[in-house]
């Protein structure tokens, strides 16, 4: 009995029992402007963070935004360190084998950005022999591997690092979400070095059906709550109000 008490005390001291209410919502611990990036005080701000707070409020959940390294975010979910993923993670069949998703909360096209005047087009022929940068473990990596076999692929821990190398000239092109690329093009470095060369040909199997909340398989209760929350904020105008602060038009998509 004494060992039991000691273990329990140690467990309480070291962690929080999941019996309590807080839902740990995982975001990527790497900046992904304008969706989520840290400000100077270390707090995470951005469109996605605002949406997380809004959905949780609408679904009456007590959410704790928990940054987790992107490359380990799914194992963190299945391992129980977090309860949900809201890190601009696209709903794809590959991922559906391991985790579950809520309804989508946004959907934006996939776009390629390249050095100015490079003549690159977002097609297998246009990228043959060129070096393209993508973030590791994303639909963009999967797409580039499948559709651009003649291009040299460089994978980065974050989309931002890829853009850095693009601006530095180490790679010829970068494929990412159109919003992330827009944010990059709005910076001085982006304007000076690069231009958007167009959207890639659609491949729903790889690119997925929009971005949803990642959940553990079988966690139906939490899924219902998130779906209800998303529906509520879309209906009562909170979604549009938040989006107006960041984007010119709605990114909910078709």
């Amino acid at each position: 009995m004494k060992t039991l008490a000691m273990i329990a005390a140690a467990a309480m001291a070291l962690g929080t029992a999941a019996l309590a209410d807080p839902v740990k919502v995982g975001i990527a611990a790497e900046p992904y402007p304008p969706f989520a990036s840290p400000d100077a005080s270390g707090n995470w701000v951005g469109w996605e963070v605002d949406i997380i707070n809004a959905v949780c409020k609408a679904a009456e959940m007590d959410c704790v935004v928990t940054p987790v390294a992107w490359e380990g975010i799914i194992p963190s979910l299945t391992g129980g360190q977090i309860d949900a993923i809201m890190a601009s993670m696209s709903i794809t069949e590959e991922r559906m084998k391991v985790i579950d998703f809520s309804d989508k909360y946004y959907n934006t096209p996939t776009v390629v950005v390249a050095a100015k005047g490079s003549g690159i087009t977002p097609t297998p022929e246009g990228l043959a022999g060129k070096t393209i940068g993508v973030q590791v473990s994303t639909i963009h990596e999967a797409y580039a591997k499948a559709h651009f076999p003649d291009a040299e692929l460089k994978t980065y821990q974050t989309t931002d690092e890829g853009f850095q190398d693009l601006a530095a000239g180490r790679i010829d092109a970068s494929q990412a979400d159109s919003i992330a690329i827009d944010a990059f093009m709005a910076t001085d470095a982006g304007k000076a070095c690069c231009e958007v060369v167009g959207a890639v040909a659609d491949d729903p199997a790889i690119l997925g059906a929009g971005v949803g909340v990642g959940l553990r398989k079988g966690d139906e209760a939490l899924k219902e709550k998130f779906n209800a929350g998303i529906k509520k904020i879309r209906e009562d105008g909170t979604y549009d109000a938040i989006s107006k602060n960041y984007f010119a038009s709605s990114i909910y998509g078709g």
Partner: protein
Amino acid sequence: MGAAGPAALVGGRPVIAFLRPTHRRAMLTIALAALAASALLLDWSWLPRYLPLIAQGVWTTLWLTVVTMSLGMVLAIGLGFAQAAGPAWLAWPARVYCTIIRGTPLLLQLWLLYFGLGAFFPQFPELRQSFLWPILREAWPYAVLALTLSAAGYEGEVMRGAFRGVPHGQIEAARAMGMPRFTLFRRIWLPQALHRALPTIAGETVLQMKSTPLVATITVLDTYSVARRVTQDTFIVYEPLVLLAIVYIIIAGLIVLFFRKLEARLPARMA
């Protein structure tokens, strides 16, 4: 310490002596059973598909360790000697260098070189036309540079102690006999210093191998990077990491064996 361990697994007789105690045989049986169980029960379905990539990654780890350690040792001999016997204007910068390298994490040094230098490039578009560009735009030169500078910093400290540890009487005698300075360095000081440092260098080489995984964060494809890629593609978490640990244990064992053989070939008596 580990004296009986790896070397015993290579000779014939020492192996039998190693296994004579009953408890060792029992433990070995348990270990082999655990190995067999993990081979059968864990999910290794991804292995055949990724074998070429794994081979590539292991090769990268190996050549990074060997190349950066060798280059680092060359620099370290200079740094160590400057501190042990050099004039103040050489010894002091060497000391500062070693202190800075040993006082900051390798990960930070690596990122400073790769991202810090990389951020300068857009300012100088002329660079892209220069002959240096193919090297500057790849990631592995930065890995080699960072690892080499790190090895130089740590081994420089080791060589400093080694150079000072050579009995001064020998140096004085050689000088008294009129031996030219470079010959003295080449035939008396350096060989004895290296001989003294050898056990430590063996350990340091293992440590250098253990720092190679960090290059995965700057897009270099080494063993660690391949294991993470397998996890990201297949979502299998433990098995790639277990394979990764086994690969590193084998490489560490090879390094220790190599240095054991090297030590055995050198004369045992030191002044």
